[in-house]
C-alpha cells in the first residue's frame, strides 16, 4: 500500500513537472538520479499480438522502462522471439483470459491484424488499461470512433502506433506551414509503393492445414469464419477486406499524419476513388483516392489525393530537372500558394522545393513552437502512462485520423467505385448513398463484441 501511495505521489509530482510549457526542454537537463526509478515503479505492460510489429513494440516499451508481464498471441510460434526475450512474462493465446487473470497489467500493446484491434483494445480499456494500438487504429470508421470515445470515457492513456508522430519531421512541417512558409495549401498529393503483398485476387479454394501452433478461431476473432489458408496469416492479411485495410490503411496513418496535423484536418466532406479491378475479397492492386476537406481555422478548403500500388502524382514543375522526386517509399507533396513542401513516409526529411529555396530557408527557419519528443514512440506512451499525461498520438488525435483514412476505403469497395460520396463526419454517414453506410458499421461474428 505504501508503495502504491508513493507511486501515486511521485506520479503527481512528475505530472505537475511535465505540465509546464517548456517541460521537455527542462526535462533533458534534469539530473538523471531524479528520474531513475526503482523496478517497482515500472509500468506493467502486456502485449496482444506478440510477433511481428508486436515484438518490436514490446521490446521498445521494455527499453523505455516497461515491465513486460504477459504476452498473448494466437500463434505461439510467431511469438517465440518475444517469449524468449521476456521469459518471465506469462503466455496466453486468448487475450480475454490474459486480461482477466493477470491483474497486475496496467497497460496493453495491441499489435494484432487490423480486424482484431478494436475488440482487444476495447477489452483492455474497459479494464482501465492504458493502450498502445498499432496503426491503423481500426479497420472501420465506427470502430475508430468507439475506441476514441472509450479512451476518453475510461480516462486511459492511448497511443496509436504511427511512430512518425513522435518524430521531428512532422513538427517541422507543422511549424513551417503554420508560419506561412508555403502560403495556403489547397492541394496535397501523397503516394506509397504499397501494397507489397497480393491484392486484387479472389478467395482461394484451397484449404491449408492450420499450423499446429495457431488457434485459427481466435485469429479470425470477430471476422466471419473462413477456412485457413496461408494467404491470410501470418503475413498477407492486409490485402483482405475482412482483416486489413489495404495499402491505404496500412500506410496513410503514417503518410497522411503530417498532412492531418499541419493542415488541422478532421472529417473530409467527400471521398471518391478509382482503382484496378476490385472484388469483395481483396483490395485492388492500385488505387487513387481523392478527399476533400472544408475550410478550417483560417485555412482554405483542401484536396488530398492519395496514390498507391505504384501510382504517383505528376512531377512538380518547381523540382529541378535531374533531381529525384521520391525521398522514401512513401512521399507527400504539399502544394502551397507560395511554394511546395515535400516529405518522406513519416513526415521525415521535410524540404521546400526547389532545392535552391530550401538552401535559403535553412538559414532562416521559423522558431520551434512544438515540443520535440526525445524518447521512442513507445517511450512517449510509457511516459504518459506513468505521468498521467497525454501521449502524442492519443486517440483524440489518431481516432479522427484513422476515421479519415479508413473512410477512404469506402470509395474503393467494389460496389462503390466511380461514385463520389458526400460525408457527414460527425455522424459517420454517407449522405448521398444510404447503401454505402453499411461498410462503416461493425458486423462481428457471434460471440464477439465491444463488451468483452
Amino acid at each position: 500500500m505504501n508503495d502504491k501511495k508513493m507511486t501515486e505521489k511521485k506520479n503527481i509530482s512528475r505530472r505537475e513537472f511535465m505540465g509546464g510549457a517548456a517541460a521537455a526542454m527542462a526535462f533533458t537537463i534534469v539530473p538523471s538520479h531524479v528520474l531513475a526509478q526503482p523496478p517497482s515503479e515500472k509500468l506493467n505492460v502486456a502485449a496482444i499480438g506478440a510477433g511481428g510489429m508486436g515484438a518490436g513494440n514490446t521490446r521498445a516499451a521494455a527499453s523505455a522502462g516497461a515491465n513486460i508481464v504477459a504476452l498473448c498471441d494466437v500463434d505461439w510460434a510467431k511469438a517465440d522471439e518475444s517469449f524468449k526475450r521476456f521469459p518471465k512474462a506469462k503466455k496466453y493465446k486468448d487475450f480475454r483470459k490474459m486480461l482477466d487473470t493477470e491483474k497486475s497489467i496496467e497497460a496493453v500493446i495491441v499489435a494484432t491484424p487490423d480486424h482484431f484491434h478494436t475488440v482487444a483494445a476495447m477489452a483492455a480499456m474497459r479494464r482501465r488499461k492504458h493502450v498502445y494500438v498499432q496503426k491503423p487504429l481500426t479497420r472501420l470508421v465506427s470502430e475508430a470512433r468507439a475506441l476514441t470515445e472509450a479512451a476518453r470515457k475510461y480516462k486511459v492513456v492511448s497511443q496509436m502506433g504511427n511512430q512518425g508522430h513522435s518524430g521531428n519531421g512532422v513538427r517541422d512541417i507543422c511549424e513551417w506551414i503554420w508560419a506561412g512558409v508555403i502560403g495556403e495549401v489547397e492541394e496535397v498529393h501523397a503516394w506509397t509503393n504499397r501494397p507489397v503483398w497480393p491484392q486484387g485476387i479472389d478467395r482461394p479454394k484451397e484449404v491449408h492445414d492450420i499450423p499446429r501452433t495457431m488457434d485459427w478461431d481466435l485469429w479470425i476473432g470477430p471476422a466471419p469464419m473462413r477456412p485457413y489458408n496461408r494467404c491470410y496469416a501470418p503475413f498477407a492479411w492486409r490485402g483482405w477486406w475482412d482483416f486489413g485495410g489495404g495499402a491505404l490503411a496500412d500506410m496513410a496513418c503514417h503518410v497522411l499524419d503530417p498532412v492531418f496535423w499541419a493542415l488541422k484536418l478532421k472529417y473530409p466532406t467527400s471521398v471518391e476513388a478509382s482503382c484496378t479491378p476490385v472484388n469483395k475479397e481483396t483490395y485492388p492492386l492500385a488505387s487513387i483516392v481523392h478527399y476533400q476537406f472544408p475550410a478550417r481555422e483560417g485555412m482554405p478548403a483542401v484536396k488530398v489525393h492519395w496514390y498507391d500500388g505504384g501510382m504517383k502524382p505528376e512531377r512538380p514543375e518547381v523540382l529541378e530537372i535531374g533531381r529525384k522526386l521520391n525521398q522514401a517509399s512513401s512521399n507527400v507533396l504539399f502544394m502551397g500558394s507560395k511554394g511546395v513542401l515535400r516529405c518522406g513516409e513519416y513526415g521525415d526529411n521535410p524540404q521546400l522545393l526547389p532545392y535552391e529555396r530550401m538552401r535559403e530557408f535553412t538559414k532562416n527557419k521559423p522558431a520551434q513552437t512544438l515540443t520535440r519528443i526525445k524518447t521512442s514512440h513507445e517511450g512517449n506512451w510509457i511516459e504518459a502512462c506513468k505521468t498521467g499525461g497525454k501521449a502524442t498520438s492519443n486517440f483524440d488525435y489518431s481516432g479522427p485520423l484513422t476515421e479519415m483514412v479508413t473512410m477512404g476505403n469506402l470509395a474503393i469497395r467494389p460496389e462503390n467505385v466511380g461514385k463520389k460520396f458526400l460525408w457527414d463526419g460527425e455522424n459517420m454517414r454517407v449522405t448521398n448513398d444510404e447503401g454505402a453506410n453499411d461498410f462503416v458499421q461493425m458486423h462481428y461474428r457471434d460471440g464477439w463484441s465491444l463488451e468483452m
Binding site: N193, G200, C275, T276, G309, G310, M311, E314, L325
Partner: protein, 479 residues
C-alpha cells in the same frame, strides 16, 4: 513545330475540306524528305506535288491517271482489288467494311482462326505468308492489315513499297521508329493510307473540335483521357511450359520480326497485346482512338516531355494499370497543355461541374479542362450549360465513313482523315508513352520525366530510354 492535329483548318466549310492551312502543316512535316525523294524518283510528278499548294485538292481529282506513279489508278466507278493480312480477328470486321470492293486475296498464319473468313470469301486466294501473296498476286491494289502490332510495319512496308494502298489497324506500328519509316515511305510512294482508328470519322470528334474552336470552354491547359482496359492478363512473366504448336498455325510467321520464343497459347489469338514483344499495352491499343479527338481539336504535335507510373511493369508484359503524363508546348495561339492518360480502371477525380447522380465511369472517356468550362467527351458540363449552349456552329466536313474515306482516297479522292501523315505522328506520341512506361521502376524511383526531341525521335535526358524507340528485328526480317 509539327502539327498533326486537324485536317480541316482555316478554310473550313469550303469544299474540298482539306484546306490551305492544313496542307501547310503537312508540308512542314514532310518537306525535307519529300524534296529528296522527288529527285530520287526522276522528278516524277506525284500526288504530293499537288498537295503542296493551296487549292491542290481541287486540282487533284482531275489529274489524268497516267501522270501518277506507283499505285494503279482506279476510277471511282471501278472496284479496288483488296487483300487482307491478318483476317481472323479485327481484320474480318475491316474486310466487311470494304466488302463492296473485290476481296482478291487473304493471308493469315492461323488457319483455324481465319477459317470462317476464308469461307466468307471463297474466291479470294489464300496465303500464309504475306510476302508470297504480294509477290504472286500482282492485281492487288490495296491491303488491309490487321495482324498483331509487331507485324504491322513489315507487312505495311512491303505493301507500300509495291505501291499498294494501305489500311492498317491501330496502332500504326509497334515502335516509334517503325511508325516514322512507314509514314515517310507512304508519302514517298504516294499511296492512300488510313489508320484503323475509326472513331476519327465520328460526329463526336468533330463536335469536340467545333466546341473548342467556338471557345465553348476557353483555353485548354489540361486534358484527361482514360480507359478501363486491359482485359487480358498483364504484369505476368513468360510461361515455362512449351505446349506443341497447333498444326493450323505457322508460329514462325506469327512471330515475324519478333525475337524467337516457344509457342504458347497465352500469346494468341487474343492476348498478345499485353506482351511487349508483340503488343503495345492498353495505351497502344486504345490511345490512337482516344487521342485523335484531342490531337485534332488542340492541334497537338510532339510533346516536350512524358512521365509514367504503373502498377508494375516488367520486361515481358505491360502493367495492369498505368498513368502516363505528357506535356505539350504552346501551339497556334493555344497555351501549353498537359495530357494525362489512365488505364486499368484508374481515372481522374470527378469534375465538380458534373451533376450529382450522373455517371462518371471508368470506361473510355476524355475530359477537357478549359479556363471557361469543362467538357466530357463532346458534352459540355454541367448538363444545364450543355443545354443552354446547344450545338456549336457546324463548320467541319463530316465523314462518309472511316473505311469509305480510305476507299475514296484509293480511287483518287482526298486523303483519308487518318492518313499516315496525321496518324503517324499521333501513333508516335502514343508509343512514346510506352517508352516512359517501360522505363518502369527507374522513372518511379527518380520521379523523372523523359524529355523528348520528337523530330529526331530521341529522349534527351535519359539515353537508356532510347532502346525502346526501335525494336530489334529477328534475323531475316527488316523494313
Amino acid at each position: 513545330m509539327i502539327v498533326l492535329g486537324t485536317p480541316y483548318g482555316e478554310s473550313v466549310g469550303k469544299s474540298p475540306p482539306y484546306n490551305a492551312g492544313s496542307v501547310k502543316c503537312e508540308r512542314g512535316l514532310f518537306m525535307k524528305s519529300w524534296v529528296k525523294s522527288d529527285e530520287e524518283r526522276d522528278k516524277k510528278i506525284t500526288r504530293r506535288d499537288f498537295m503542296g499548294a493551296a487549292g491542290a485538292v481541287a486540282a487533284f481529282t482531275i489529274v489524268p491517271s497516267h501522270v501518277l506513279g506507283g499505285p494503279r489508278r482506279v476510277s471511282p466507278s471501278e472496284k479496288l482489288n483488296i487483300a487482307g493480312v491478318g483476317i481472323g480477328g479485327r481484320g474480318a470486321g475491316d474486310l466487311d467494311e470494304v466488302g463492296s470492293e473485290n476481296i482478291v486475296a487473304l493471308c493469315d498464319v492461323d488457319d483455324r482462326y481465319a477459317a470462317n473468313v476464308f469461307k466468307r470469301y471463297p474466291n479470294a486466294k489464300k496465303y500464309h505468308d504475306f510476302r508470297v501473296m504480294l509477290d504472286k498476286e500482282k492485281n492487288i491494289d490495296a491491303v488491309v492489315i490487321a495482324t498483331p502490332d509487331h507485324t504491322h510495319a513489315v507487312v505495311a512496308m512491303n505493301a507500300i513499297k509495291r505501291g499498294k494502298h494501305v489500311y492498317c489497324e491501330k496502332p500504326l506500328a509497334h515502335s516509334i521508329y517503325e511508325v516514322r519509316k512507314l509514314t515517310e515511305a507512304a508519302r514517298q510512294a504516294g499511296v492512300a493510307t488510313q489508320l484503323g482508328n475509326q472513331g476519327q470519322a465520328s460526329e463526336g470528334t468533330r463536335l469536340v473540335s467545333e466546341f473548342i474552336r467556338d471557345g465553348a470552354i476557353g483555353q485548354i491547359r489540361e486534358v484527361h483521357s482514360w480507359c478501363n482496359r486491359p482485359i487480358s492478363p498483364r504484369g505476368i512473366n513468360r510461361p515455362k511450359d512449351t505446349p506443341p504448336v497447333p498444326e493450323t498455325l505457322n508460329w514462325d510467321l506469327w512471330l515475324g520480326p519478333a525475337p524467337q520464343r516457344p509457342y504458347h497459347p497465352c500469346y494468341l489469338p487474343f492476348s498478345w497485346r499485353g506482351w511487349w514483344d508483340f503488343g503495345t499495352g492498353v495505351l497502344g491499343d486504345i490511345g490512337c482512338h482516344q487521342f485523335i479527338s484531342i490531337f485534332r481539336a488542340l492541334k497537338l504535335g510532339y510533346p516536350t516531355s512524358v512521365e509514367a507510373c504503373s502498377s508494375g511493369v516488367n520486361s515481358e508484359t505491360a502493367p495492369l494499370a498505368s498513368i502516363i503524363r505528357y506535356d505539350f508546348p504552346a501551339r497556334e495561339g493555344m497555351p501549353p497543355v498537359k495530357l494525362t492518360w489512365y488505364d486499368g480502371g484508374l481515372m481522374p477525380a470527378r469534375p465538380e461541374e458534373l451533376e450529382e447522380g450522373l455517371r462518371f465511369g471508368n470506361a473510355d472517356e476524355n475530359l477537357y479542362i478549359g479556363d471557361k468550362g469543362k467538357m466530357l467527351g463532346h458534352r459540355l458540363l454541367p448538363e444545364s450549360r450543355s443545354k443552354e449552349y446547344g450545338k456549336p456552329p457546324r463548320v467541319l466536313p463530316r465523314s462518309p465513313g472511316h473505311h469509305k474515306e480510305w476507299i475514296n482516297a484509293c480511287k483518287g479522292g482526298e486523303p483519308a482523315g487518318s492518313n499516315f501523315d496525321l496518324a503517324g505522328p499521333l501513333t508516335e506520341v502514343v508509343l512514346l508513352g510506352n517508352v516512359a512506361l517501360r522505363m518502369g521502376q527507374q522513372l518511379y524511383e527518380k520521379g523523372l520525366k523523359l524529355y523528348y526531341d520528337g523530330p529526331n525521335m530521341k529522349v534527351t535526358n535519359l539515353p537508356e530510354a532510347n532502346k525502346y524507340i526501335r525494336s530489334e528485328y529477328r534475323e531475316g526480317w527488316s523494313l
